[in-house]
């Protein structure tokens, strides 16, 4: 499977990556090569193999339902560009 310009543009848009016009062809080739590499796995017979969701053969540890986090709003907001009345401010998201 190989990717063309429009595939790369779409992927970049979904990931909110700004690509220069002249970078698109290069990424299309590189990403296609990665896909080709992965495609080699398709020769393996996986009919009776359960797909893995994680490389570790372990189960998720569960947490007890307890409130353990204190309010650290001031520290957390110290690195935010803009805050007001305890809210993070961002560029307006609806027209």
């Amino acid at each position: 499977m190989s990717l063309d310009r429009s595939d790369v543009e779409k992927i970049a848009h979904l990931a909110r990556l700004a690509l220069d016009e002249n970078q698109v062809e290069g990424y299309a080739a590189e990403l296609s090569n990665i896909l080709a590499l992965v495609e080699q796995l398709e020769v393996a017979d996986t009919d009776n193999i359960e797909p893995m969701a994680h490389p570790l053969h372990m189960a998720q540890r569960l947490r007890e339902d307890q409130v353990t986090e204190p309010d650290r709003r001031d520290q957390n907001q110290a690195i935010a560009p803009l805050v007001e009345n305890g809210l993070y401010l961002v560029p307006k998201v609806i027209e």
Binding site: A53, R63, Q66, D71
Partner: protein
Amino acid sequence: MQWETVIGLEIHTQLASKSKIFSGASIAYGAEPNSQACIVDLGFPGVLPVLNEAAVDMALMFGLAVDAQIGSRSVFARKNYFYPDLPKGYQISQFELPIVGRGSLTVDLEDGQQKEIGITRAHLEEDAGKSLHEDFHGMSGIDLNRAGTPLLEIVSEPDMRSIKEAVAYARKIHQLVVYLGICDGNMQEGSFRVDANLSMRPKGQQEFGTRTELKNINSFRFLERAMNFERERQIDLLESGKAVVQETRLYDADRDETRSMRSKEEANDYRYFPDPDLLPVEITEQRLAQAKERMPELPDQKKARFASDYQLSDVDATLLTQSRPQADYYEQVVATGADPKIAANWVTVELAGALNKAGLELSDSPVSAEHLGGLLKRIADSTISGKLAKQVFEAIWQGEGDADTVIEAKGLKQITDTGQIESIIDEIIAANPKQVEQFQAGKDKLLGFFVGQVMKQTQGKANPGQVNQILLKKLKG
């Protein structure tokens, strides 16, 4: 043309845990903005989500309640999209291997029929934060307290064929999750959110029409209205030869209409993949068995038991089991020895009416189950008449004490002493010779007049049965 409505619902229920699904921050409602958003919720570098076991157990209880397939392994996935109230740039949700698989729920329809609605799946996920679009100098304010709150999204099959069926299903799911104690059911606060997928097709056609998804619905009334509006809108489009566009539409309660979100995004492409931060969840036999043990009696089971144990009508059994607190209250009243049918009547009529009038919840009722039981006991043993019982109820409601205290203090004890009633009747007969003559001449209706006189004389305290009997005997004698 005859049109058929096809509806499927996606219901987001906020789980009633103390802490978030992947962090130890509180999920209490109404806190100061961002005071309950910790570094895991904010997606700081280097943090790891750790799954809350309460969320898993609550999901399992729901699965058991709808007879769903529950696999031994469940996987979390990232749903990728960008929005300011989603700090990580992805929502942790489930895609393949949701915790609750295929199940079903039977709903009661208005015409007395029942219908089984398929449940496709129910999966765990984290909620996003809230965007506030008031004017912050042309910017939006973001509160991330809600980010990371555990949700169970319950997805139905497109099995509903009318708006009434869809509302009945939504109400039943609501009743169920509240019964299970896994969700507080508060729609105003967003603890129970219903999205409706609705499409139309010519009656008899097999394939589905193009659907729209309705969001922003925060009450059952609005759910019904939004679907009614959307149904008409789609029929108008189709009948004028236009096509329905597959899109998400927001319900505007003020204007009672649905509007396109006009998203500039192309078709949703969330690029789900298993979240590498979270290992697969193992649902052990032991965990499932524990969830089974925690299951309360479910609404349908309770209703059937009430109908058979207490010999109640279907209507009474349904009414009483509407909510767990009401069913529990009723059983406490019956436990005091009250007659089940009379108790049902008092709980569903007198008490419910008084609570409704005062705008109170049952949990705030000034009349406890023991008090009501005490009152019904005094009706049953003829200490007071049924008529005066309402007066006693009113006094208990006002905090004047239990039934016996009120009856004593107000002197409402019923007069059942035959001799006393006889002497009162004798006086009345002597004082009204004209009426006696008319009655004896055949004017039977005058019996009411005499009963009224006796009741007036005794302030309603004379036992009505005895009064009737003695009056007839004396007047005819």
